[in-house]
Symmetry: C2
């Protein structure tokens, strides 16, 4: 049975040492004192360890079942969900106006990591609701907000996002679900949606579906798409769930993982729906909520990796096998713990240096969102918009790889379900696919985000890296271990950017052939930047005589590992990018 304990100290290191949350000028950040975040994170950690984590394997084994049109979640999920609801966790970073606590998204994200690490499948019921709330906050009418948001913020009702249909996922212009206007201003929604996470369940009294559909009079393709709100039970005059709407669950998919979350085929058969946002501008409504949803999925990647790492580390300390080459470390035992072996350490350090870098990257991203939203800061909005596909694509790819490494540390036991490492890998796998498959993230990055606003956001990123390097160049040790490798990696990224500028217009396929490598190259530079920044604050803490010297020294050692063993991958990515389109495009389709 896998263990989980919230890494409060590591999270606080990012919030306070790195991001200086309490000292920020972002509205609401003044509340984020070390004492306050310690209390919130500890409380979340208690819920995670005591309630959510023990149900993770139960959810995997039992899965969800459809009986007489109703989805039943695994044993214990309803009680645990009630605990999340009663604790007010969903509203932590949502507006007070609708019953939330109005705390920064940064803190909500930190708490989110803990919940996702403990039980990703269960947390998705809440996560999807969060996404739907954001869409309504941005695009709902005042009436819609008043009717739906208080109940969704409190988790009395949950939400879903309905985009995909059997014949289209990425290419939403092809959707067939129809919205027919009715006289009362509502629409009749008819069609089939698939892969609807948390599509139905027994955890809440109502489910509020947000559905993309085509209403008459829209253009071809994505221009004809609108967004509709379709409640499972139509709200009555008292604001309570009333008549059952004409939406039903066709089936629950059998999946590789996240069995505890019901992935539903949803059948809309003239269901009553209400327009959200402007008619024929549903894609825009979807996109405004995309950043947060994608960052939430990136978070799933490293949160599963964190859970896996905790278990791999524990196993590496306990499992006795072989002897250290430098002499027995456990001479009285039959063998040494496997953490003495260099290759086991390599596997753990790959995981650790990734997870800690990814956490810093994600929380920095969350801070940018707060800044964009609360300070109306266009530069912050541009930066997070640029970084979002990187967070989503890179953190889910490498998060999955990390769970595979953790499984490998367990040897044969890693393959046996009861040890729990298989589930973490199987659950993590979905994050590379949903909310825009990672190839789509790379396309978004190279095809859209790079050139946005004349390329000014990527320029701002380079400047940020350069300024950090310049400001700290006097520290010789930091320079050698962190700044020089970062400068080299950043140079590779700039060279790749130049390659796209030069070839992108005249040979788009040449640019797109390197999009995936570019996304990972960008991710390496971001994690390298995070490690350089974390190294600087860890050194400062040590120089200031911090009590827990081991903690800060471990940050430095882990960071050096990243800079030495991981960051040099940028050269390989650049070489692939610069090889252009010929290797990828020259084989005829029929000869594959």
């Amino acid at each position: 049975m896998p263990v989980y304990s919230a890494p409060v100290k590591d999270i606080q290191f990012v919030l306070h040492d790195l991001l200086k949350a309490g000292e920020s000028d972002i509205p609401g950040y003044q509340e984020l004192s070390r004492e306050f975040t310690a209390a919130v994170l500890a409380e979340a950690g208690k819920l995670a360890s005591d309630v959510l984590a023990p149900l993770n394997a139960v959810g995997d084994q039992q899965g969800c079942r459809l009986e007489n049109g109703t989805v039943h979640t695994p044993e214990g999920f309803a009680d645990a969900f009630a605990r999340i609801r009663e604790g007010g966790w969903n509203g932590l970073d949502l507006p007070e106006e609708f019953g939330g606590q109005g705390l920064p998204y940064l803190l909500g994200t930190a708490v989110g990591e803990i919940m996702v690490s403990a039980n990703m499948a269960l947390n998705m019921y809440q996560g999807l609701t969060h996404g739907a709330i954001n869409a309504l906050l941005a695009h709902g009418t005042e009436d819609q907000k008043a009717t739906y948001l208080p109940k969704m913020v409190s988790l009395e009702w949950t939400g879903t996002m309905n985009l995909t249909e059997p014949h289209c996922g990425t290419d939403l212009g092809l959707i067939r679900t129809k919205a027919t206007p009715r006289d009362d201003g509502s629409y009749a929604i008819t069609g089939q949606k698939i892969f609807i996470s948390a599509g139905d369940h027994d955890l809440a009294r109502n489910v509020i579906h947000l559905v993309l559909a085509k209403a008459p009079g829209g253009g071809e393709g994505t221009r004809g798409i609108s967004l509709f709100l379709v409640p499972k039970f139509i709200i009555d005059a008292d604001g309570e769930p009333g008549v059952r709407n004409a939406v039903s669950v066709g089936k629950i998919e059998k999946k590789m993982g996240i069995h505890g979350n019901a992935t539903c085929v949803m059948d809309y058969d003239g269901a009553t729906g209400y327009l959200v946002g402007e008619l024929h501008h549903g894609m825009r409504a979807m996109f405004t909520m995309m950043n947060e949803a994608r960052i939430g999925v990136g978070l799933q990647g490293y949160a599963q990796a964190e859970a896996a790492l905790q278990n791999a580390r524990a196993y590496a300390h306990e499992r006795l096998q072989g002897r250290a080459t430098s002499g027995a470390r456990n001479p009285d035992g039959p063998a040494d713990p496997i953490i003495v072996h260099p290759d086991v350490r390599r596997m753990l350090l790959d995981q650790k240096s990734f997870v800690e870098g990814a956490r810093a990257f994600t929380l920095w991203g969350a801070q940018l969102i707060d800044r964009a939203r609360c300070n109306d800061d266009a530069a912050a909005e541009g930066m997070i918009s640029l970084l979002t596909p990187v967070i989503k694509g890179v953190l889910t790819d490498r998060g999955f790889d990390s769970t595979i490494l953790a499984q490998q540390v367990f040897g044969g036991h890693g393959y046996i379900e009861e040890w729990g490492m298989s589930q973490l890998a199987r659950d993590a796998r979905i994050a590379m696919i949903y909310e825009g498959a990672n190839g789509i993230q790379a396309l978004d990055l190279v095809g859209r985000k790079l050139a946005r606003d004349g390329g000014k956001h990527v320029m701002a990123f380079f400047e940020l890296v350069r300024n950090f390097i310049d400001e700290n160049a006097a520290d010789a040790a930091l320079k050698a271990d962190f700044l020089d490798p970062l400068a080299k990696a950043s140079k590779d990224l700039q060279a790749a950017g130049r390659y796209f500028m030069e070839t992108g217009m005249k040979d788009p396929d040449a640019a797109l052939s390197g999009s995936y490598d570019f996304m990972h190259l960008f991710g390496h530079v971001c994690l390298g930047l995070m490690w350089a920044r974390m190294a600087r604050v860890a050194k400062a803490a040590l120089e200031d005589g911090a009590a827990d010297r081991n903690f800060y020294q471990a940050k430095l050692a882990t960071g050096r590992y990243y800079m030495t063993r991981q960051l040099p991958a940028t050269s390989l990515h650049l070489a692939r990018i610069q090889s252009g389109g010929a290797p990828v495009m020259s084989l005829e389709a029929q000869d594959f």
Copy 2:
């Protein structure tokens, strides 16, 4: 439902164009005409497509169950296994003396790929038997061979290998299973073994377990280990299964994949066992059969990748989504097939260039085994001994990665079990773990194989690469596209080898910190060599006016992809190796 069709043409390309099997001086190879291998491979392919592949998902869904001490395999497995038995497939490359057909191991391996691609879990019952047969051929007494081999070759009985115990896998010196001598020359075997693939089942009349145990008077650690044969039913005077032996199945493990194969906990409670080979030299007996077993596992890696690639390719042709940047390819349809998109092509080419390179590498390895065995060729034996950990470690790691890529091509459908891509990935995952986890393969390569016989085998490998480059240097196109990149990669490998020579003795941890990277660096050079050799023969075929020009041109294009996009990874591996032990060893164990 996934499809599978044996890639006969690709296999024949390797057997005949590349390895010139029919023209070889190895005894038995003269039979390997193109006509003969075409007939055998087509027949195997028919069995695979018609019988084995349709049961693959069934095996995954039903798994094995233990009832009243007996293991029941999934529906249809017994009939399919009978078809394998009746076809004489198991004996294809086994000695005629014991009922086999005495054909080269090379051909057996080619057939093995087909069977493993179609149904890995089912094929393991046969594969484990093959391993046990090899151990008995090498170390059994004449009586033992006469009693057991004919029945095992014919698959009337199957075999298993019992090494692992709950507290030890890699470190076999710790095993506790005891062998107590009896007056009649047999031994009483007592202990528990775990992770025993094909440990019990209803496919055959008897199961012959080969068991590592400690007999009195042996030394400490691995020196005290002997190998015993323990039949499920003790053979009676007529040579038939008689009295039930005191060995039973404790439980069947629930695993991430290969559900169709029963992974058993085996309890030995004073079971009758017979010594195989010399007393206290059981490890040696194990090691002689290790090469083939490990190559068989490496084969599983790329065979699963081949099956996954076939399905990803088909999906990429069928799925309509988006448009090619260079103009619609399917203007009358709602969208273009996704194979037009550069990033989808990248995923397919990563898989294709790996699978075809891995097939060539494995079959070359099989040819070396034939040469070593039949021609008593010590150089061939040394070479395959060096390459075995590379085949096992690299092909299973990258084979798994390849199944993950294939799954990714399917988008959301890849995560749904009914599409079959999840199973291929889950099944492939075990190959990185069993038969020596891949970290152990890297240790074997760097700690044992590199320095064996004064390093002469690795020198022979470098010479082989150099000679190939020199012999073909006059071909300018081959040189630019294949030989130059290969020379660069080989130089990286030599630099890594030198690093180990220089640091290995004085700082073993520094060498071992780079062992995994070295294994993958070596693997890249091997696949680069294979692609260069395949390119040469493909060019020759084109120059000779071969009928199927597309086939050979596709080989060249796929090879160029490998050289351009994959092979440059050698620099990254070298950089990591040369960073030495400090990044890996400096973090204190308690600070992980």
